[in-house]
Subunit: 478 residues, 2 copies
Amino acid sequence: MEKADLLFIHGYVLTMAGEGVGFINDGAVAVAGDSIAAVGDSGELLKRFAADRVIDASGKVLMPGLIDAHIHTGDCLIRGVSQDIRNWMQHGMWPFEQVLRPDTDALMKGSMLNILEAVKAGTTTFCDFYAPMNELVKNHVKIGTRARIAQTVNEMPKVNRTKVGELYEFDPAEGKRKMEETLRLFRDWHGRENGRITCMLGPQGADMCSREMLEEIRQLAEELDTSIHMHVAQGDREIDQMIKRYGKRTIEFLDEIGYLNERLIAVHLTEATEEETKYLASKGAGMVLCSGSIGIIDGIVPPAAAFLEVSSRLALGSDQAPGNNCNNMFNEMKFTAILNKCKAKDPTVFPAWKVLRMATAESAKAIGLGDQIGTLEAGKKADLIMVDMRQPALSPVILSPIRNIVPNLVYSARGNEVEMSVIDGRIVMENFKVLTVDEASVVREAQEAADRIAEQAADLFKGMEDTPLMQMMAAGKL
Amino acid sequence: MEKADLLFIHGYVLTMAGEGVGFINDGAVAVAGDSIAAVGDSGELLKRFAADRVIDASGKVLMPGLIDAHIHTGDCLIRGVSQDIRNWMQHGMWPFEQVLRPDTDALMKGSMLNILEAVKAGTTTFCDFYAPMNELVKNHVKIGTRARIAQTVNEMPKVNRTKVGELYEFDPAEGKRKMEETLRLFRDWHGRENGRITCMLGPQGADMCSREMLEEIRQLAEELDTSIHMHVAQGDREIDQMIKRYGKRTIEFLDEIGYLNERLIAVHLTEATEEETKYLASKGAGMVLCSGSIGIIDGIVPPAAAFLEVSSRLALGSDQAPGNNCNNMFNEMKFTAILNKCKAKDPTVFPAWKVLRMATAESAKAIGLGDQIGTLEAGKKADLIMVDMRQPALSPVILSPIRNIVPNLVYSARGNEVEMSVIDGRIVMENFKVLTVDEASVVREAQEAADRIAEQAADLFKGMEDTPLMQMMAAGKL
């Protein structure tokens, strides 16, 4: 008999291998160390493996852990202070950010809350994009999540005096400092924790870095053999800056400086045209679609359908808590399907199976971890979740003539049906409780830090009484 | 001191009275018998009331129970068998329905599961629309929910031999039988259970009943002093039938026969033009918007924005489990806000406070219960929920300078944060568990019934191998 640490049996297995969902009835998954030893029929695996622990998954789905391909966990502490308005950043986020950003303790408390929230909804891998990532990464180490992280890098001056509509001035000294932070992140963290932590490069946007800096980053990506995680065509302000500075739109410019290839993870594409999107896809770049966030902030459904015409390297991300306002990949799957159906006025587009792949197998490829995660296959890392299909919203299970499991995971699951989570072979959540942190303490500590931030932000809202959220406050609508 | 049965103290209270959300910090709600005795400041109510039970709501929201203004609970058993396709009814629902509909035991088991699912997400009032409602109503009696029910009435023959595109033939004998069932429903149930159960009239659609029958129903609504709950302009097939039969579209026809008034609860309006919608609204009729269901089934965002230009009597409904696929009013609020933002390409429309009113105060008015429920005010029925804001997805709470409670309830809540539910003064759910039924038994019995239905339906899918869901099955995509 072969040895296994964990043997899950009698589950509804979705391997997500191949083209579809890879359903196995009465399926089993054997985990040895940090890896999947085998996936198959329960009877077979019970004969083949002597396991330290056998887990009965009857009535439950076993599937790859979900991948959040774009999240800013440091922003979680100000969840819900900025939505239902234009100028989301200036009239809601910004005054809070001014006190939040310098308070590393608050950033850490918020980030941990955000990771906890997401883990409880089945996320096992986080593309966390923030500064200071050298600090936030410690939360991922502690709670036990897989993190593919990027330090936000730009060349914006500490105090930005640019008026709306004017070209930003860059501060090369600031850029240099941030690049040094990025190199330190790689030195200190890349490949750590049994490879669970990996680093990417993170230019904030093509408008916020000089051409020289962007070229340096491209070269560094080759040397470090990693991905470039970057907001691309994320707003009309970005496009305006690009045209003013270079006389061309973002994607044409990125093509010119050699960014359009498999290393690029292009986040949002909110303002990209369908033609630009297809061109970017044809060059091998991945796309991260943040349906909830862009829906709330901009009222826009990005051109993901155009991307899919050319490439399947489409991943989903939950973005930041202020302006989504949740970080739950079940939420992202559902919004991705329904928003795109309504955009196309066609209920057949973005079917459940395809959207589930965007949060697992295709996402893993898009973020450069396709050889390690995203499917349940022997040899891959053991990142998997067990979902209780006996929760009312996922019941009943029908296996034939039409199986309802995948549609109900995408269209009905709330996230709280995820009962167990295994990351890198370690049980991080069991019986709906995260084992590696004390959940109540995480919530309490985040609340304490938020109280402090809110108190400090109060002054910064003075003189903003005519902004929409302050008016909603005055009118008793918040 | 006045007597109270329950006194909730130290909560974040959202009364939903007046125009906004009626926020009270450190708020209290006193419940005496089936009614709200007082709402106000905790200190004041603690002095004023001697309560049998005092409940500490620190860190929790107290708000009106949510109203699902359109649900077919009998369909729950086939959740997830029909989506991502055109001809949702013919290629998914219908073969299952043929075996489900005659099996009253299966309908009852599914309906109870559906009600349980919804109660666990904060729904306290159900506009349940089905046949045989004389049976399904017993589930609402048992679990303790408020139900405003309608027996589906139409004049369609038992076996419909009409070809696609042809005018339906009516069977007056079938119509007569169904009207008798409706009258029996009123006789047996209207006003029962301390008024918790009330009945409406439920013509299935203007295309499925003769003009004579619709006129009889209108007259009956006056005599019985109740609402008419009806699908209106729900599909292009309906409009086609109306033009063929009467030479006019649905809303013009309904105007002619005196349906456009405050008694009408017009469900869907999927195919209504903006002009028709505004006209209907101007006549005082209510609208029920089923965002999730119509998004999945049709890829359409109905003209609710046009309705709101004229009237605030807009309610939300979750429709049926096959084709939504969940029945969770938090899901409906979130989709209503974001789908309408994307339709209008404007993040300011359908703000959180307005959408929360559509599931509470405005909904109550639209369904004809505005004097009884929908807000927390002295004298109203005690239908309220307590939501735990210390769940990770709703944390932290920020009270000022910008309060984040309402946006997080609409955009982040999954539904499972609802900890307690009081309906008609009775605690139906406490500590996240429904007290009036055994949750595990409800799920298990629904699963057993679903197994039976699936087995019987298998034969009916023979010869349907070329339909899209059967092809997805064959391709390993379900």
